[in-house]
């Protein structure tokens, strides 16, 4: 099926193209595998969280708790595979150290979703609760200690290579394509966009709004949990105080640069991936060319403002 390219996506692609061209001209050693691998490995976790965030934003909500969910999942995994039981059963232990944290993350999503969809609490406030207490839970789980470990099969999630690219990059790519299909081809996707587009109309036309919203927060939290596991795998260490800090802002920024509107009703998954890549590449470009970290923050702020402003212009 050949469709006209969404102008927002086209704009983002042009901007990315310009950025890559600039890098080819200016940045030394831009065109090698090492540079690519470093960037892919840094952007993958943001992209994975941002995909879930885009779904939440499409439903007309926001999820501030993703960073704390990452911390909880990241704290749980080493606890599980370092336990006596897991050391006795390495295979099952490894599986449990991935599955259990993801299930716990999903439960966090249920918590957010129930508060929002059933009790009618505003998304910012509802997810603020777990934002505040979730990191505390992760720190209580680990007694506030840094957990370090060597577990090659687990760390593969963050350091493995497939076709000489980081494995988490492939995970992010597969999730993007999968979720893009889910949004476009499934009933859940249709319902999601209708809930975000006009909730009242969705209720009146019989869309199970509460179920759709809960499912959306569960997906977002599970993806955040996965990102938490990847961060722990990259570092071979779990620091509950730091995993996923400010991730909610990075993810929201990627979603918005990618074309999601905070008012809901739009879930551009491919755009989100490209938005995350754009922000990452912009940061890399500035730092590789000797611009300081703090100026990079200011430029990122300007990009976010411009991206939101451009979207606003199109809506009128």
């Amino acid at each position: 099926m050949i469709r006209r390219l969404d102008p927002r996506l086209a704009g983002l692609l042009v901007a990315l193209g310009v950025l890559i061209a600039l890098n080819l001209a200016m940045t030394p050693n831009f065109l090698n595998m090492q540079t690519l691998a470093v960037n892919v490995s840094q952007v993958a976790t943001i992209a994975i969280v941002a995909l879930g965030m885009t779904l939440v934003i499409a439903s007309g909500g926001i999820d501030l708790s993703v960073g704390s969910v990452m911390a909880v999942a990241g704290a749980l995994a080493p606890i599980i595979f370092l336990s006596d039981w897991a050391l006795a059963n390495p295979g099952a232990g490894l599986a449990a150290s991935i599955v259990v944290p993801l299930l716990v993350a999903a439960l966090c999503g249920v918590f957010n979703g129930v508060l929002i969809a059933i009790l009618g609490v505003q998304p910012i406030i509802a997810t603020l609760i777990f934002f505040i207490s979730g990191r505390g839970v992760a720190q209580v789980l680990t007694n506030g200690n840094l957990q370090t470990f060597t577990n090659p099969s687990f760390t593969w999630l963050g350091t493995g290579r497939v076709l000489s690219l980081p494995v988490q990059g492939w995970i992010a790519l597969i999730l993007t394509i999968g979720l893009a299909l889910v949004v476009r081809r499934t009933i859940y996707g249709r319902y999601l966009l209708s809930v975000g587009g006009n909730e009242r109309a969705a209720v009146l036309s019989g869309v199970p709004v509460a179920r759709i919203k809960i499912a959306t927060y569960v997906i977002a939290a599970t993806l955040a949990g996965l990102a938490g596991l990847i961060v722990v795998a990259i570092n071979s260490a779990s620091d509950a105080a730091r995993i996923g800090q400010l991730m909610e802002l990075d993810a929201i920024a990627a979603a918005v640069v990618g074309g999601a509107a905070l008012s809901g009703g739009r879930a551009p998954m491919v755009g989100t991936l490209l938005g995350a890549v754009f922000i990452q590449l912009m940061g890399y470009t500035l730092i590789a060319n000797g611009v300081s970290d703090e100026m990079t923050l200011i430029v990122t702020a300007a990009i976010i403002a411009i991206a939101v402003w451009l979207q606003r212009g199109r809506r009128q």
């Binding site: 603020l128 207490s133 703090e294 200011i298 976010i304 939101v308």
Partner: protein, 321 residues
């Protein structure tokens, strides 16, 4: 609507009084001058940013930038501290006002969503604070009178900062309750379109709340530098969320259109008090909660308040529909 809001506000005052009574009866030194003055001194920063946040939320907006703007203001004030309080205090507040004006320009001028506009300012202010401070904590000049504001107390009891905050609170309260500007602020939150069509100066009111909130954040930054002897570019992380929580606990709905400045102050004090009581309880040795538990408990506390509010708000929402 009136009834609902007064119910929401009553809850926070009752909770505050109950917690204070609990503290006074249970702990010997709770009502001591030392505890009172250190409690008020520390919380003056949070009260003042919560008041600014309250006005923003009354319009249905949000200001995510207050934490990093306070950090920026603390750096500006610390850098200028050799010139004394006379220069450093206004300069810190001016830095906050400028950040607020940036928010106002993006929101009232370019009509960007407040969440995203203030998110951008949040990042920019952090970048600015790190740049001005060269990525370091900036020590203040102890030989000037700059630290006087943050470290001195009236009659060894009330910190000067809390008195300054009191003035800000009264000003905000009078503006909201007694002026047309205040009524416009509430009208925007109730229904922005209708307020605009009625001929209210909605844009002016929006500019006002964001600039005011920026000024409050600037003042909090000056308190930080003056009270703790340093401009701290990395401080302020999460302050915006603490302020939002205080506003919500104070009974102001995030959709705007209603709310109370004094109840927000009570909400901010309530959060501080929970910490204060936990410290005393730890001190008694009956329980031993690490600092890690404190955020868990703060989150639970917020959850309980929100569940109570959800119950209060329900019947009203139904009758309105």
């Amino acid at each position: 609507m009136q009834r609902l809001s007064s119910q929401g506000h009553a809850a926070v005052w009752v909770a505050l009084i109950v917690l204070i009574l609990f503290g006074v009866l249970r702990y010997d030194n709770f009502a001591s001058a030392y505890n009172l003055s250190s409690f008020l001194g520390y919380n003056s920063m949070f009260v003042v940013i919560s008041v600014g946040m309250c006005l923003v939320i009354m319009t249905g907006g949000i200001d995510l930038s207050v934490g990093t703007v306070a950090a920026l203001a603390s750096v500006v004030a610390a850098l200028l501290s050799p010139m004394g309080l006379v220069v450093a205090l206004p300069a810190g507040v001016a830095a906050g006002l400028a950040a607020g004006a940036l928010n106002a320009g993006m929101i009232a001028g370019l009509r960007l969503p407040p969440f995203m506009a203030t998110l951008a300012t949040m990042l920019a202010a952090k970048g600015g604070a790190l740049r001005l401070s060269n990525n370091r904590t900036v020590p203040v000049d102890w030989s000037s009178n700059f630290t006087w504001l943050g470290m001195n107390k009236v009659a060894n009891l009330l910190p000067w900062t809390i008195l300054v905050v009191l003035v800000v609170v009264v000003v905000a309260w009078v503006i909201i309750a007694r002026t047309s500007l205040g009524r416009t602020v509430l009208a925007i939150g109730g229904n922005a379109e209708a307020a605009h069509l009625m001929g209210l100066k909605t844009r002016r009111a929006e500019v006002f709340v964001y600039v005011f909130s920026g000024g409050c954040a600037g003042l909090a930054g000056v308190f930080l530098a003056s009270g703790y002897g340093a401009g701290q570019p990395l401080e302020g992380a999460g302050w915006e969320l603490a302020a939002i929580a205080a506003v919500v606990v104070g009974g102001t709905l995030l959709t705007g259109g209603m709310g109370s400045v004094p109840a927000t102050v009570a909400g901010a004090l309530l959060f501080g008090l929970v910490f204060n009581l936990l410290n005393f309880e730890n001190g008694r040795g009956t329980i031993s909660l690490s600092a890690n538990w404190q955020s868990v408990i703060r989150g639970l506390f917020l959850l309980i308040v929100i569940l109570l509010q959800a119950r209060l708000a329900r019947p009203a929402a139904r009758t309105r529909g």
